[in-house]
Subunit: 431 residues, 2 copies
Amino acid sequence: MQTTSGHVRQASAKEPAKRAPFSVEVVAIGTELLLGHLDSNSSWIGEQLALAGIDCYFQTRVGDNVERISEVLGTALQRADAVVTCGGLGPTQDDVTREALARLAGVDLVRDPALAAGIEQRYAQRGRAMPTSNLRQADLPRGARPIPPSTGTAPGIELELPTGLVLSVPGVPSEMQDMVGRHVVPALVARAGSRAVIVSRVLRTWGLSESAVAEMVAPRVEALDEAGNALTIAFLASGIEGIKVRLTAKAADHAGAGSMLDREEAELRRLLGDRVFGVDGTTMEMAVGTLLEARGLTVATAESLTGGMVASRLVSVPGAGAWMLGGVVAYDTAVKHTVLGVAEDEVVTAGAAQSMARGVRSLLGASIGLSLTGVAGPDSQEDKPPGTVFCGLSGPGSFEGHIRLSLPGDRDGIRQLATISALDWLRRKLV
Amino acid sequence: MQTTSGHVRQASAKEPAKRAPFSVEVVAIGTELLLGHLDSNSSWIGEQLALAGIDCYFQTRVGDNVERISEVLGTALQRADAVVTCGGLGPTQDDVTREALARLAGVDLVRDPALAAGIEQRYAQRGRAMPTSNLRQADLPRGARPIPPSTGTAPGIELELPTGLVLSVPGVPSEMQDMVGRHVVPALVARAGSRAVIVSRVLRTWGLSESAVAEMVAPRVEALDEAGNALTIAFLASGIEGIKVRLTAKAADHAGAGSMLDREEAELRRLLGDRVFGVDGTTMEMAVGTLLEARGLTVATAESLTGGMVASRLVSVPGAGAWMLGGVVAYDTAVKHTVLGVAEDEVVTAGAAQSMARGVRSLLGASIGLSLTGVAGPDSQEDKPPGTVFCGLSGPGSFEGHIRLSLPGDRDGIRQLATISALDWLRRKLV
C-alpha cells in the first residue's frame, strides 16, 4: 500500500488468493508515459472498472512499439479474460496500437470504408483539408469491430481473440472517457455474465469521513444486499474533494435503471442530508454558484491564508459572472485594516474574520461576503498553530456568522482544505 | 502516443526495435493504484531513469498480493536487467513487498538486528511507544541488503537474483524520491556500466518551446558530444510549467561533477539568458519572491479572468509575507470601476489593464501593481475571442507597461497560462 486514502471499498475490491472467474487488465500505450508523463487514463479506467464490480489485478504501461505492445497484450490475456488498452489510435506514425493488435491476432489491417467516409466527412464539415494520414484511423485488424466515437475522429477497436477480448480506446481523455463509459464498461459487464443494462450515478459528499458515510448509508447497503445485487453502492475517497457514493443499477433497460437510481438517490439523500453537494461531475464551486444564482444572490470573498484560492475556484465556473463579483486578497495585516476596515489588532480571530466578510461585502456591493483568515504555516502566528482557520460570513439574515477550523497537513494542504471548507460552509447556508 | 507534450528528448528515449543491452522496469505496488489512485511515483521514477539515460520499456501496477507481486517481478526480470519497485514496505499487514521478494528468491525473511534497533531508537527519540508490528520493517529476504532511509523509518531493499537486480523503495513520495535519487539511480547507472559519480541539475526555463530551447542550446550539445559523454543535456517539456534542461555530469567524485555542472550552467545561462527562472525545485513564484525580497519591493495583484490564481501562487511561497501584500479580484466590471478606479468602459484592453495595476498598487500601498484582464471563454467578450489577455504593470521606472497575449486552450488552460505568463513577465522585469 502506498497511502491510506483514495481506495474503493466494495466486495470486488478485495484481493482473493485465487483469481476470480472474470478479470480485466488495463494497458496504457505511449512512450511519454514511460518518461514522466502522468498516466491518469489508467487510474480513471481502474476506478470505473472497480465501481462496476469488475476485478482488475494488473495495469501495464508500454511505449509506442508494435512488438512490445503485442507482447504485453499477450501476457495480459494469459492472466485475464479481457484487456482495455488506451492510446496509440491517433493518425501519426507513432500511433501503432492498430498494428500491434493485428500482429497479436496474426492478421493484416484492412481499411473500413464506412469509417474512412466518416472521417472525411467530419473534416469536410469543418471546411478543413484532411491530411491523408488521417485515414489510418479507419484501418482495423481483419475481423475486428470499430467502436464508434461520439466525439473526435478516432474510433475504438473491439477485437475478439481465442485467448480473450481486447477493447482499444483513444488516449485523449475526453474521447477515452466517453468510449469507456458508453461502450467498454457495459461490454465488460455483459461479458462478465450479466446481460442487463448497467447505469451508474455518483453522489458527491463533503465533510464526512469514509467510515462516517458508510455508517450513515449502512441501512441502505443492508437492504440492497437482501434485495439481491440489482443495485449496489460503493464508496470512493477522493482526497480533499470528499467521499463519492456510487450507485450502480442493473435493469432490463435504461428507463428501468434510471428509475431505480432515482429512488435510491432519494433514500440516500434522506440519510446523508445536505452533505451531498452534487451529482456526477458537479464540483463544490458549481454547487455554490447554482444555489447563488437560483436565489439571485451575489458573493465577494476576502482571503488571507488562501490568497485567492476561493475566488479562483468560484471564477473557474463558466457563467460565474452572474453571481461572483470578485474579492480582496488581504495577506498583509495592514491590508486587512486599510482596505477591509478590520479594527482588530489580532487577525487570526473570529472577530477579524467577521470584519473581513463585512468589509468585502460592503466594498464590492455584494449580497454575501465570505472570508478566511488563519495560519497556513510553517510557523505559528499570534500563538496559534498552523491549521487554525476562521471563516466569516456577512449577509442578510442567517448569512452572518463564523466558524473555527483546525486543519491537518502542510502549508499547501491546509490552504486547500480551508478553501473547500469555506465553500462548503457557504453552500450549506444557501441550501 | 497519448498527447504530444511532456516527453524527454534524448538518444536513450528512442525506442529501438531490439532491446538495448541494459534496461530497467518499474513496478508500483498497492491495491489502491488499481482502483483509481494516481500512480505519480512510477511517472517520477520513469523521468529519473530517462534523464539518467537508462532505458525503461515497461511499467506495471499490481495490488498488495504476495503471489501476484512475485509473478510480476518474475515477468519483468525475464525482459529487463533490473526492476525498481515502489510501495508495500510499510508496517501494516497489507504491506507485503518483503514477502513477495522472499517468495521470488525462494528464501525466508530474517529480521535485521541493526535495522530493528534503528527503528526502535527513532521511536524512543520522539518519546512515542512503538507498535510491535513496526519491526516488520526490519525484515529482509535472506541475502538481501537494506537501503538505509534518510527520512522515515522504512528501509529499502536491494536483492540480487540470478535473473537480475531488484531495488525496492517505499511508496511515500518523499521517502521514495530521496532513496531513488541517493541510491537507486546511481546503483543502476553503475550497473549499466559506469563506475563514476553521477550528479544532475535542472535549469528551469519559461516562455520558449522545446524546439526553441534545443536550438539555442545546440552549440553546447554539439560541443559536449565531441567532448565525449561525461556531461549530457536532456530536455523535458513540463506542460505550462515550461521546459526543463537537465544537465547530468559523470565524474570521479562529487566535487568534480559539481564543478562540471557549475561551468556548464554558466554556459547555458549565457545562451538562454533570462529565460532560465530557476534551478531544480525552484518554482516561478519562488523566483519572483526572491527577486522582490532582494530588491526590497512589495507587490499587489489585480485579477479578472484568473480570479486570484496569481495571488494564490505568490501566497503559496513560505515567507511570502515579506513581499506579497495581497490583491483585488475584480471579476465583475463594476468592481474594476469602483474598487480599482478603472475609467475605461471596455475592460479587455491595454488601458484597463494599466488602470487596474495602478489602482491596486495605490489601494494596497505596494511598490508594484500587477494586473490581468482578458477572456477565459467559453464565450467571446467585447468582440475579443477566448485567450485574449492583457497584463499591466505599475511601479517605479521600468515597472510601467502592458503586454497583450493570445493564449490557446480551454477556460482552465487559458487561466493557467495567463497566470504563469504574468508572473514570468514580472520576473523578467525584476531581473
